[in-house]
């Protein structure tokens, strides 16, 4: 019987695959099903990071050309979506993860351990956990470095970090050397990653009001989980 066509086709082929999909795919899906996936509008409504406003102040002429509405919520939404799409298209996620594990001192290096609720939004569809770190993790990157640092780094990473093996991205820049729409959007996206933590960035001792500590971030995430948001 184990060698008959119908058994192999139905049990091994269809049956075991469906079983595994139910247990290992559908089950985690059902666990998080009741959590609303945040839309771009929801994400933007939480506030516009200072870095996006700073881009508009730093490059007024270029910014108004690329985002004619100024640093408004709708411009920020556009920038986030475009930045995310570039992040995917360029394969950034092959060398930069977006998850902090509770092991290997990752919380000391980067900040609060990742929480499922952080991924329930349209910009994590499909999720960008990543599987390899040639460069550092980016999910706590918001405000860790300045816009200028990122812009110089995208143009030629070795100018900023001599040992860097990251490629140059001159196509994020205009001919006159200013970041273009893509460049600004990607910087806005990177500077947004982790900005949803109430106490970011704890390592600089500045930012919005609230206790600035990793413990504070983790407590806030835990509260969020309890509230089922």
């Amino acid at each position: 019987m184990l060698e008959s066509k119908s058994t192999v086709f139905l049990v091994a082929g269809v049956g075991f695959f469906v079983l595994a999909f139910v247990v290992m795919g559908l089950l985690p899906w059902m666990i998080y099903m009741d959590q609303e996936e945040e839309t771009l509008e929801d994400l933007v409504a939480k506030g516009i990071p200072h870095e996006f406003v700073e881009l508009a102040e730093r490059f007024p002429e270029q910014f108004s050309r690329h985002f004619p509405n100024g640093p408004t919520p709708s411009s920020f939404g556009d920038a986030l979506q475009l930045g995310h799409d570039i992040y995917v298209a360029e394969g950034c996620w092959h060398c930069h993860s977006q998850q902090i594990r509770p092991v290997s001192n990752e919380d000391l290096r980067w900040g609060a351990v990742s929480h499922p609720s952080e991924y329930h939004n349209v910009l994590q569809r499909p999720v960008l956990f990543g599987t390899r770190r040639v460069g550092p993790d980016l999910i706590r990157e918001a405000a860790r470095r300045s816009n200028d640092w990122h812009i110089a780094h995208f143009y030629e990473p070795t100018n900023v970090v001599p040992t860097s093996v990251m490629p140059n991205y001159p196509w994020f820049f205009d001919e006159d050397g200013y970041p273009n729409r893509k460049g600004m959007a990607l910087v806005a996206y990177i500077q947004w990653l982790g900005s949803w933590l109430p106490e970011y960035p704890y390592y600089q001792g500045e930012g919005p009001a609230g206790a600035r500590s990793r413990e504070g971030d983790e407590a806030a995430l835990e509260t969020r989980r309890m509230e089922g948001s």
Binding site: F9, L19, G91, Y119
Partner: protein, 483 residues
């Protein structure tokens, strides 16, 4: 079951149709040439990326030559260009022989050949122009996915028809093929559509884990093992050692392999009880794999000389040793203890290269070494010694690359844990990345020997003498009656 063909003998027919009537030999060759073309492109893409890692990229700042995009050409080119094409060729050789029937439609086979190359070209162009999808190994642009899926469905129909029509008990190979056709279609549909359109966030991580793993485990592995169950007994002219172990191997793989997916995201926000489940089923796979390996080495008993005299057998068994290595490695690296250190590091890159190229790539190169002179109607290879160069450069290149990356991964993982500055981990990795570049070059040069040999064999096939007796290790091996 002593021979593959006798098992599938139809009851109502007394005359066994000749293989030359059943097999579209030209198509087997075309698929092989396409596979080798894509593996060459994919290897060059890998080389490009390894140049980037040692900071001497030849085309800096050119959008279409961005290393990040070529990395996707590397992985997708190997999976869909090299392995899929080579498997389609081998299926066209093996399935008609095992079922004594043609594929459903020869026209459909030709259509699939051209459509698949079109899908691959569209994928490469899509990836290089910035239309990737954020699913590892499923980066295939969204607009290519429906065509690719339709292609896989047609492949399944084309090959399942003769298999399901064949009378009598089925040989092991066909168990693997039947389930592989079903699985591949479902895996591709799941990976391309579910995380993009239906499930987001953490849960999509679970689906992506399933996809990454099932692409290896439910498409490449079953067709690869199915072909081993076909080619090894034919070349050794003896049956598989134990039919019982064949059953254990197949059913164990079918049950445990699909459950492994989440082990790609251990310590992620995915619920811990599911991570534990994936760890346990992964370790179970290692036990199953051991039975398969025992079965094949039992088959080799009393014929160990074939490793010396028959190059295809040597490719196959080196691949099996690597398969056992990689599965044993997996049983350890999947534990939470190992994951603390080696996750995100080059250890995993070494592991995946050993699986995809060291195992399945080697099996493919092995059966190509066996089949290509037959497909060209040549008595043998133009220069058997070039095939030996191909074997040794590729094999040693792969072996050194594996150890190089595994050691690099351990160093990276421990430096990260010790909170070394990130730049310091790059400096520490640099020598390993240099060694990896050279192993890559060795592998590419090995393939050049193979390509040159194929070309010269095709040109000089009329003047090639059949190999006298197997001696010296680099010979084509005993001639085999292929019916």
């Amino acid at each position: 079951m002593t021979s593959a063909a006798s098992g599938a003998l139809p009851n109502e027919d007394t005359a066994i149709p000749s293989a030359s009537d059943l097999v579209i030999r030209r198509l087997v060759l075309w698929h092989f040439v396409a596979a080798l073309t894509f593996v060459f492109v994919a290897m060059l893409a890998g080389l490009l990326f390894s140049f980037q890692l040692i900071q001497i990229y030849p085309f800096p700042g050119m959008e279409a030559f961005s290393p990040g995009r070529w990395r996707m050409v590397h992985t997708n080119g190997v999976a869909y260009g090299f392995i899929a094409n080579a498997f389609l060729g081998a299926l066209h050789w093996a399935v008609p022989r095992l079922t004594l029937r043609r594929v459903l439609s020869v026209k459909l086979s030709y259509f699939i050949f051209f459509a698949w190359q079109g899908v691959l070209l569209a994928t490469v162009i899509g990836l290089l122009t910035g239309y990737a999808q954020a699913v590892e190994w499923g980066e295939t642009p969204i607009f290519v996915d429906p065509v690719a899926l339709l292609g896989l469905i047609l492949v399944a129909i084309n090959f399942l028809t003769p298999i399901l029509k064949a009378k009598g008990p089925m040989y092991v190979t066909l168990w693997y093929f039947i389930s592989a056709f079903v699985w591949t279609v479902m895996v591709y549909a799941m990976g391309s559509y579910v995380p993009e359109f239906f499930v987001g966030g953490t849960a999509s991580g679970a689906i992506i884990g399933l996809f990454i793993h099932d692409l290896v485990g439910l498409f490449v592995t079953p067709i690869g093992w199915g072909l081993m169950y076909y080619f090894v007994p034919i070349i050794l002219k003896k049956p598989i050692w134990s039919h019982g172990l064949s059953l254990v191997g197949f059913w164990g793989l079918a049950f445990f392999y699909p459950l492994n997916g989440i082990h790609h995201f251990l310590y992620s926000p995915i619920p811990m009880f599911l991570q534990y489940g994936a760890v346990i089923s992964t370790i179970a796979v290692e036990l199953v794999v051991t039975t398969v390996i025992i079965n094949f080495f039992g088959t080799l008993r009393h014929r160990g000389d074939a490793l010396r005299t028959n190059l295809p057998i040597r490719w196959f068994y080196l691949g099996m040793v690597f398969y056992f290595t990689t599965c044993l490695q997996c049983a350890f690296q999947v534990t939470l203890t190992f994951q603390r250190i080696i996750h995100f590091s080059d250890w995993v890159v070494g592991h995946s290269h050993l699986v995809m190229f060291g195992v399945f790539g080697f099996w493919i190169l092995g059966f190509m070494t066996y089949l290509i002179p037959r497909l060209l109607n040549s008595a043998g290879w133009y220069r058997p010694s070039w095939n030996a160069w191909h074997f040794w450069l590729t094999g040693l290149g792969m072996l050194v690359m594996f150890f190089d990356l595994v050691i690099a991964g351990l160093i990276q993982g421990f430096m990260w844990k010790e909170l070394a500055p990130w730049e310091a981990t790059l400096t520490a990795s640099a020598p390993f990345w240099l060694v990896r570049l050279f192993t890559g070059i060795a592998i590419v040069v090995g393939q050049l020997f193979f390509f040159a040999n194929i070309l010269m064999t095709a040109i000089h096939k009329r003047s090639i003498e059949p190999a006298p007796t197997p001696a010296g290790g680099e010979l084509e091996g005993p001639s085999v009656v292929t019916a």
